[in-house]
């Protein structure tokens, strides 16, 4: 702990210049919300209660019943067969073939790695894995609309975001095998990726905790641009599933993001299941999207199997999030969790295999884009074969390499709890060292980088 008595002059960095930070612009006094004091004007047709300013009086007692409202429509650009529904929305005119092929390859990479890693876990070569099958389009499509300056908070089923941002297979495998090259220093379960370089915060298991954090991060980005206008406008993209949206943190996050005008896009992956719990047991309203309006948030529902629609929605969401004083946006991307929840789950215990096969066969983001590309004549069976073979080869190569790399130094067990190792932890590190020296046959330290040497 570096603390010292400081009696330093304070003026230097304090900003008194007129403008963004110090002026009291934007302070909203409680009284500001009253047109002219608390009293109701005679003959007024609308409410002057501070809690709902634009409400008109009515003498008809009508309870609003959510089931009487039409469900929010789902935006799409192409149908399940890869045909563009509205020609004016044809992505061909705006996006290069190379980009589209790259997105396709990125989705394919996620999908191929999923198969290999799922089996690897079944063989006991890694401890855990979670696949993304059916949701590759949401991740890759939305990430393609972000810049590398934007900050991402993920839940765990967004491998496509990482790959689209440039996370390498080597980095993925290092994390999955918890070897010494893992950014997380071997401390997290598999699939809990993170990258400082790519501005993706490390995934943590507690659901929804990242959502209010993402709101706060977005507020920080906004403040930093107020302090330094040379910083490019940035947003936070925050991903979560429809199950996580039942957590209190979801409520807290959307409400605070709206009241503090945070430049953030909330992306809800609604895949129909939270482990075994179907969405019908998760909520009674119109999905997650209907809630956005209640928080005063611009909201859209999109077909998550349509990568073009997801991308367009995300581009527009980012534009709106940065408009004016900034604001949050909610995107609900619909999909179907084709896979088991994780390697610790057998989903056929709670849903019919036939239903899953149906989804796999009928519609998923990869085949849909493939059909579109084939129709455009930029993809064919040979290219497909070549892509699958080369990706598979690369995944297996990184797999084999990562498996052989040593584990992080034992010292990493004690580091980074605080900025500096505390005297208490230092003493415990010494105790562990003495214990291992006393009982060398009880512990295998050979696979850890540096062996015993790092424990001091």
């Amino acid at each position: 702990m570096k603390c010292r008595t400081v009696l330093r002059p304070l003026a230097a960095s304090s900003r008194n210049r007129s403008g963004v930070l110090l002026r009291r612009t934007g302070i909203r006094w409680a009284s500001d919300t009253w047109a002219s004091g608390p009293a109701q004007k005679a003959g007024s047709d609308s409410v002057h209660f501070p809690g709902a300013l634009k409400s008109k009086f009515t003498s008809t007692m009508k309870f609003r019943n959510p089931t009487e409202e039409a469900a929010m429509p789902t935006y799409r650009i192409m149908d399940a067969d890869g045909n563009v529904v509205d020609p004016s929305r044809d992505p061909q005119s705006r996006i290069s073939d190379e980009d589209i092929i790259q997105w396709y390859r990125n989705m394919l990479t996620v999908s191929i790695m999923d198969l290999i890693m799922f089996d690897a876990q079944r063989q006991g070569r890694t401890s855990f894995y979670m696949v993304s099958a059916g949701e590759e389009g949401i991740a890759v499509g939305s990430a393609s609309a972000l810049s590398l300056d934007d900050v991402c908070f993920l839940q765990y089923r967004e491998q496509g975001v990482l790959i689209q941002r440039g996370f390498t297979l080597k980095e993925m495998m290092s994390q999955l095998f918890a070897n010494k090259d893992d950014n997380g220093k071997g401390r997290n379960m598999p699939v809990h990726y993170g990258s400082g370089k790519l501005k993706v915060h490390t995934i943590s298991s507690p659901l929804a905790t990242q959502i209010p954090q993402a709101s706060g991060a977005a507020y920080a980005l906004k403040m930093q641009r107020l302090m330094n206008p040379n910083i490019p406008p940035r947003i936070v993209a925050c991903y979560f599933g429809e199950g996580a949206a039942s957590e209190g943190d979801f409520h807290a996050a959307l409400n605070i993001a709206a009241t503090k005008s945070c430049p953030i896009v909330f992306v809800c992956r609604n895949n129909g299941f939270a482990i075994s719990t179907a969405s019908i047991e998760q909520y009674k309203g119109d999905g997650i999207a209907s809630r956005g309006l209640g928080y005063g948030i611009d909201t859209v529902r999109v077909d998550g199997n349509d990568i073009f629609a997801v991308r367009e929605v995300m581009l527009e969401a980012k534009r709106r999030a940065l408009e004016g004083d900034c604001k949050p946006i909610l995107v609900e991307a619909m999909s179907y969790r084709v896979s088991h929840h994780s390697t610790s789950d057998d989903s056929f215990a709670y849903r019919a295999k036939r239903e899953v096969e149906e989804w796999k066969r009928r519609d998923n983001p990869i085949t849909r884009l493939r059909k579109w590309m084939e129709k455009k004549g930029i993809w064919d069976e040979d290219k497909e074969k070549e892509a699958r073979t080369s990706i598979r080869k690369e995944v297996l190569r990184e797999f084999a390499a990562a498996e052989k790399v040593k584990k992080p130094p034992l010292r990493a067990l004690f580091e980074d709890v605080y900025e500096e190792i505390t005297p208490e932890a230092r003493a415990q590190m010494q105790q562990l060292k003495e214990l291992i020296e006393k009982y060398p046959n009880e512990y295998d330290v050979s696979q850890f980088e540096g062996g015993m040497k790092t424990l001091s």
Binding site: S14, G26, P206, T209, G248, A253, E419
Partner: protein
Amino acid sequence: MFGCQGGRVAAKFLRSSTQCRFASQASAGARLNRPIDMKKVPFLHQSQNSARTAFGLSQDAPVDWVNLHGAINASLHHALKQDENVLLFGEDVAFGGVFRCSKGLADEFGAARVFNTPLSEQGIVGFAIGCAAEGMRPVAEIQFADYVYPAFDQLVNEAAKFRYREGATGAHCGGLVVRMPCGSVGHGAMYHSQSPEALFTHIPGLRVIMPRSPAQAKGLLTASILECNDPVIFMEPKILYRAAEEFVPREAYTLPLDKAEVIKKGTDLTVISYGQPLYMCSQAIEALEKEIKGLSVELIDLRAIYPWDRATVLESARKTGRAVVVHESMYNAGVGAEIAASIQEGAFLRLEAPVQRVTSWSTHHGLIFEKFYIPDIARIYDAMKKSLEY
């Protein structure tokens, strides 16, 4: 919801009541449980020169007579002025806070930096973690420590583990400070009186700090906000907000966040405490030393409850051979348990009596029973006596 609303209502009447002396409800014939005369508390800087000497200042350095909320306000003011990454937010912070700690700060630093949040503790702490993760230095306020539990997940699973799980990415939320008023206040009952510090001392990754006085609060809070790169839980004994007054250096300064302070030197017995009970420890020691000629008791203020300064406490216990730990939170698995166990481990051969723990009883903070519930001067006096007579 009800609790927080209740908190706001409560704050209004707490404001006037904090001026009561603690133990003010002493029975008529009380010799020990007498009201504490704050003007005679030896560890408060009652004179300008005492403050200047303590902080190594020149004889003409400006010092101000301030109370605890004034000192906290001064620290927040300095932090906001010194570093534009500092943000201050929570429930009802903008108008000055229900305890006046943020008075005037929204006016001076603007609504972008000092603002109200919706009424949601998990939201406040989650939001603050996110701000800190992007390099800001957020100071979040939980209106009462009693209402921190909705944010427990964010503090335990997220704030505390953030740096550890991020590893080589280098991300962390070390700029985070969570302030919360804590402790009994005379009539706070179950939800305006709690001292949940022990719950946080079981969490690696969090620093838990509790000041005892205005001068200490200013230095510790400034260090927590501007210099410490670990998340800090900063607990403020609310009964002292108005009651504790002393001379405090006007200029900014910081105090170390990992050092205990020996408030009073002694050779026969060590009393260890932190925050508000130190006033009662001091009074109890005075009474016992008056009674037993030649008795000399050492009084230690932990200041940092976790990670804590074992070395200073052990050195004292080895010297005196007897120790009494005093805190307001309850007995089982309280901070006293950790201190007693550490003394047993580190000073076993020097101990001449079992380590005593003077804490609140293992029940809840019932409104009308407070003076029977929390440690008072008589209980501390009695524990010291038992230790000496063992």
